[in-house]
């Protein structure tokens, strides 16, 4: 029952923190800078997003101990959009209009980001979005601190093609916007690399799919054509567990058919029996097992903050760490929290990332990131087996899709355009 009691203590602690925050609000109401946190604390996405809220609270606490920003203390405003996409927009509006927050850190799924995007543009406020996504977007009001497809999916496929000599590809995903767009890009990329149509199999499953027997059997069948086969998985969080279990149950090992996943990180592995996953791959820009002083310090602080020595860190958390540090620097540089001034100051800011390199905010509101490929180990951590020699610049508009290969994004003046068409020489208008 140790779990039960520790959960109770945690709940109590959370309540206490909440009460402390409320009290803090009253005490400092006049001279604080408010930071909005828009992550689901209930519903389906709570599994991933709750951690990000905790990370933000820790970062804000650390910043306040170090003296705050512009001489003022930061104050976190936490709201719960409950995994309900329209509610994200309502809560965002509430944060900006009622709570007058200077900046919002939040969202996980692409659909929630799409839902809040018009609100941030209308009310001219800033959003830091920490999750790897499908690209094809660049808004003046959003900073994308997660990976674009060219910082995750494309290098992962490159790795499999070169290092593992894979010739046949299964693109398996959950049926929604991120996997569909990513797979479209990957399909175009693979074909450009000379992979034949019949060597690509694309499969979509509903959210939370749990009966993988037929699909795993068909992957097995697809793989028996005498060519090395790999699965590129954009399967969303929850459905992964039964998927990997079924692979193991049907006797498919990572050596035979490796699966490289873009949505499976340390946090997702924390609640699993990892034995069936050992050797399968994930592509991210950060792993907890990265060896660097920054990472050691962060992981230690995180474990101490959550009072849980088993707490893990993951890629979107690193994205928030980078995004928050950048925002603090930009505010100090601009000398104000005014949206336009901070947005201008953001571009070009460099902060150390947790893997021992530097992250720089590019004019297209995307970051430079190293790409790491890790193999799952039996302890739920990743062993890094490959990494890009330097960092990769995030590309908002994919070069492999016919509709977007002519588009570039540059938010510096005088261009200030999220989707400038280099073929026609015109700015195509914002946010499409």
């Amino acid at each position: 029952m140790s779990h039960f009691s520790s959960a109770l203590t945690r709940t109590a602690a959370a309540l206490a923190v909440g009460a402390g925050l409320a009290w803090g609000t009253a005490a400092h109401a006049a001279d604080t800078i408010k930071v909005g946190i828009l992550h689901s604390l209930s519903g389906t996405m709570a599994i991933s997003e709750t951690t990000l809220k905790d990370v933000m609270l820790m970062l804000i606490e650390q910043q306040n101990e170090a003296g705050g920003v512009l001489g003022k203390q930061l104050e976190a405003v936490v709201v719960d959009p409950a995994s309900d996409w329209p509610l994200f927009a309502e809560k965002a509006r509430e944060l900006i209009s009622n709570d007058k927050v200077a900046v919002v850190f939040g969202c996980w799924t692409s659909v929630s980001r799409k839902s809040v995007l018009p609100v941030f543009e209308e009310l001219n406020s800033l959003l830091f979005y920490p999750v790897q996504y499908e690209g094809e977007e660049s808004s003046k009001n959003v900073f994308y601190t997660g990976a674009a497809p060219n910082q995750q999916a494309v290098p992962a496929v490159d790795y499999l093609m070169k290092e593992a000599e894979v010739e046949r590809w299964v693109l398996a995903g959950t049926d929604y916007v991120y996997p569909r767009t990513t797979n479209k890009i990957l399909e175009a990329y693979l074909k450009a690399k000379g992979v034949a149509e019949e060597d690509i199999m694309i499969n979509y499953t509903p959210f939370g799919h749990s009966d993988w027997q037929t699909i795993v059997a068909s992957i097995k069948e697809f793989a028996s054509a005498g060519k090395k086969t790999a699965v590129v998985s954009t399967i969303n969080g929850d459905a992964n567990v039964p998927f990997y279990k079924e692979l193991a149950n049907q006797g498919i090992k990572a050596e035979d058919i490796p699966v490289v996943a873009f949505s499976v990180g340390e946090e997702e592995l924390a609640g699993l029996d990892t034995a069936p996953l050992v050797g399968h791959l994930a592509a991210w820009n950060y792993f907890q097992s990265v060896e660097s002083d920054e990472n050691d310090a962060f992981v230690e602080a995180w474990k101490a903050y959550t009072k849980n020595p088993d707490r893990v860190s993951n890629d979107p958390m690193e994205a928030h760490v980078i995004g928050f540090k950048m925002w603090v620097q930009a505010v100090e540089k601009a000398g104000t929290t005014d949206t336009d001034a901070v947005a201008d100051a953001m571009i070009g800011i460099s902060v150390p990332n947790l893997s021992g390199g530097t992250a720089t905010m590019m004019p297209n509101h995307h970051l430079t990131k190293p790409v790491l490929i890790g193999e799952v180990q039996d302890d739920g951590q990743f062993e890094i087996v490959w990494e890009t020699p330097g960092t990769v610049v995030g590309d908002a508009w994919s070069d492999y899709l016919p509709g977007s290969k002519d588009l570039i994004s540059d938010w510096r003046k005088p261009m200030s355009c999220g989707n400038f068409n280099v073929a026609t020489g015109k700015c195509g208008g914002q946010g499409e």
Binding site: M1, S2, H3, F4, A7, L8, R10, T11, L41, S42, T44, A46, I47, T50, E163, A164, D175, N203, Y204, T205, P206, G208, H209, S210, D211, Q213, T214, I215, A217, S218, K220, E221, S224, A225, G226, K227, D238, V241, P242, K245, E246, A248, N249, Q250, G251, K253, A254, E255, P258, E267, E268, A270, G271, D273, G279, E375, Q377, D378, E383, V385
Partner: protein, 542 residues
């Protein structure tokens, strides 16, 4: 000593010398060979490590098997100071280290002084191929068989010599066949005269499985007699596999059906028999799964040897806990709402949200790890059918639960009262049955069975607060399709939907298959509003 004495002694001396040479010299030589190879593992790059594994495999030294196995199990480490490769084992006061080649004890060091040797998939593949080469001469027939199998999969040209030597000595006909197939696969992979290739194709074809197919498909794309033979073999194997594939699909369908059945049986009671639209039914399943988690957690901390029996311990507990919660819900909410289906629906939906968030607050939003006992992991082959143990057990378990429930309904006093109350409440009441109490127990029974289903589903699905939601719609579908109030209908409904879904899936994809099944049910209900097995009589007409 006479000359005859010397000549008599000479062969004996010679024999001793040869024996000594044969036993001592190679060991000393191999020891000198293995140690630097093992030391190669301290390299951070993968290429030298892979090369070292290959050399260990080619050494023919049986000690290399243990070393390679230790490497595969990640028991090999490098010392952070000096980079020496050691074998380490966890003990109470640190890591006990020893030399991987000689086995010499090197004392105990703290964990921080060691660095695990990195392993990637290429190394894992090479390790299993190398172990295959090494164990081809093993005295155990099963190990020789496995070795031949791993050579078949790796198809490495270098193994041909060892394989030929092993083939010449092999006496077990099954293992011999495996070795011949492995040999044929190497021949096919690495090119030879046409007649050899055609003979090899025939040997590989005799396997008739997917692995054979992956060897042959590459050859079938060319021109000439070899490609013809390969093409014919591929078609033959494909036809054979297609039949097995259909059988496999039936099994998948029945397996999905059994999951649907498990999820729906409880609902068949609460909705089918009592007529309560219970939206919190899925949460009862979830509670059952969390009971399994707690039981396993207790076992892990206090009685690890019981782990294999954890599910049997969880079953009655899950039944009791989910049943009691169900009865509490009936007592607190539902009994005030009988005959008001809309309000029941809303109230139970509210309860389901409350239960979900309560579990989220207590156990956290992340998935909880429920382990699979050994006897439920893995698969066995029946011809070309791959049957996974967990699915097979769940299939039989769902039948057992249904059978038990039918017995209770038919042959116990409680079952009789339950049927009496649902058929004619006032009459049953006037015969002295406490109808309120029977309602409560019936609802508890339905919830308890949902709890049992949760124990089984914890083996194949995520144990998270959302577990129940994914089953609630399917459960209603099964009960409505099968016929409200009829347990046979639930059985036939679940199996029909399962098999239909699995036969549609390969053609239409998982998403469309689900849609088709839903559309089919809507049309079916138009034609037969009471489902497959409609209850007849006055009780229904009320």
């Amino acid at each position: 000593m006479t000359s005859t004495g010397i000549s008599r002694l000479f062969p004996a001396v010679l024999a001793v010398i040869i024996l000594a040479l044969a036993s001592v010299a190679p060991v000393a030589a191999a020891e000198a060979d293995l140690a630097p190879l093992v030391q190669e593992f301290s390299n951070r790059k993968y290429d030298p490590k892979v090369e070292a594994i290959e050399k260990l495999g080619a050494s023919g030294d049986m000690r290399a098997v243990a070393i390679l196995k230790a490497l595969g199990n990640r028991d090999l480490y490098t010392m952070k100071s000096g980079d020496r490769v050691v074998l380490a084992r966890e003990t109470a006061d640190g890591m006990a280290i020893s030399d991987p080649v000689t086995g010499e004890d090197l004392g105990t060091v703290p964990e921080k002084a060691l660095q695990k040797i990195r392993l990637n998939n290429r190394m894992r593949r090479t390790i299993s191929a190398a172990i295959g080469t090494l164990t081809l001469m093993s005295p155990d027939a099963a190990i020789r068989g496995d070795a031949a199998e791993s050579i078949f999969l790796s198809r490495d040209d270098d193994d041909l010599e060892v394989l030929d030597a092993a083939l010449a000595k092999e006496t077990d006909p099954d293992v011999k066949l495996l070795m011949e197939q492995a040999r044929a696969a190497i021949v096919l992979e690495n090119g030879s005269p046409d007649e050899d290739l055609i003979a090899a194709i025939a040997v590989v074809k005799s396997r008739g499985d997917r692995d054979a197919l992956s060897v042959l498909t590459g050859l079938a794309n060319g021109e000439g007699p070899v490609a013809e033979a390969a093409k014919e073999a591929v078609t033959g194997i494909e036809n054979r596999l297609e039949l097995w594939g259909a059988a496999q699909n039936v099994f998948y369908g029945l397996s999905l059906g059994s999951v649907l059945l498990l999820a729906a049986i409880g609902l068949a009671i609460t909705f089918g028999v009592m007529g309560v639209i219970n939206m919190a039914h899925g949460e009862m399943i979830m509670i059952g799964a969390y009971v399994t988690f707690m039981v396993q957690e207790l076992i892990r901390t206090s009685a690890p040897w019981l782990f294999d029996y954890s599910l049997f311990i969880a079953l009655p507990l899950a039944f009791l806990i989910a049943g009691l919660i169900g009865m509490a819900i009936e007592h607190g909410v539902i009994r005030f709402l009988y005959g008001r289906p809309l309000e029941t629906l809303l109230a139970t939906w509210g309860i389901s949200l409350i239960l979900q968030q309560a579990v989220r607050t207590i156990f956290g939003p992340t998935n909880r790890e429920v382990g699979t006992p050994d006897w439920m992991s893995g698969f066995f082959k029946l011809g070309e059918l791959t049957l996974t143990y967990n699915r097979v057990y769940i299939l039989f378990f769902s039948f057992a639960v249904l059978a038990l429930l039918m017995l209770v309904m038919r042959y116990t006093a409680f079952g009789l009262q339950m049927r009496a109350v649902t058929q004619n409440r006032p009459m049953a009441g006037s015969m002295g049955i406490r109808t309120g109490w029977v309602d409560k127990l019936t609802f508890g029974l339905g919830s308890g069975i949902a709890g049992i289903a949760g124990v089984a589903l914890s083996q194949i699905d995520n144990v998270s607060p959302n577990l129940g939601q994914s089953y609630i719609i399917d459960s209603f579908m099964v009960v409505v399709f099968g016929g409200v109030g009829n347990l046979w209908g639930t059985l036939v409904g679940a199996m029909t939907l399962g098999v239909a879904n699995k036969f549609l899936e390969p053609y239409a994809g998982a998403v469309l298959a689900k849609i088709f099944v839903l559309v089919f049910i809507i049309l079916f209900i138009q034609k037969r509003p009471r489902g497959l097995f409609a209850l007849k009589g006055r009780a229904v007409e009320q």
